[in-house]
């Protein structure tokens, strides 16, 4: 991504949360959400990612997109740590309703209850959903 990074905000740090509720590959939202996440890190914001409902499917291990001739972006979630993005919250009820456990996920996450997720959402300055 070729972005202009010349706009320094004089140290304003806000809490940004990216809420991911959609499965990957069936639509582009997961991929284009990640692109904003990376940019927001470059702006040195306090970034969190929430994976709720079908959004938890974005983090599945073992993704192989060769057969649908699309580029996989699964590795990008692993790269987030290198951008100091370490707050990845996954909704426990969403995982359970899909028969998924933490071991199935490609990155380390914090598994939280719906009530805890509600608290996290509530304390954000900016919530972006796609």
């Amino acid at each position: 991504m070729s972005e202009e990074m010349d706009m320094e905000e004089g140290g304003t740090i806000k809490k940004f949360m990216f809420v991911n509720r959609k499965a990957p590959y069936g639509t582009i939202y997961a991929l284009e959400s990640l692109e904003v996440v990376l940019i927001s890190a470059a702006f040195e914001q306090d970034v969190s990612l929430a994976f709720v409902d079908d959004g938890v499917y974005q983090l599945m291990k073992g993704i192989n997109t060769d057969g649908i001739e699309m580029k996989s972006f699964a590795k990008t979630y692993r790269a987030l740590e290198g951008y100091d993005i370490e707050k990845l919250y996954v909704d426990r009820e969403s995982m359970e309703a899909r028969g998924i456990s933490e071991d199935d996920l490609i990155v380390d996450v914090q598994v939280v209850s719906a009530a805890e997720m509600a608290d996290l959402m509530n304390e954000q300055d900016v919530v972006l959903s796609f």
Binding site: R21, D91, A114, D119, M121, S129
Partner: protein, 99 residues
Amino acid sequence: MLHIVNKSPTERNSVESCLAHAKKGSKVLLIEDAVYAATKGGAAEARVRSAMADVTIYALQPDLAARGMADRVIDGVNLVDYGGFVDLVAEQANCQSWL
């Protein structure tokens, strides 16, 4: 916090997921196809009524009218126009769209 939902509760899971993640005292605004969740007799009515114990429910009146649903609103749902939508966003500290 203001939660904004725009999808029909009989088509998608976003109304249900929003209500499951809205803290006590939050406001929930139903716009576009989500206004069906604010109407009587539908499958979502019981869920919305029970949610009203914890959160305040709003529905965008122009979207209700556009769907022929203006006369079917559940008692206790608050109607707003686009100006009221703006006020809700301004009055709450933050907002989240359940897309």
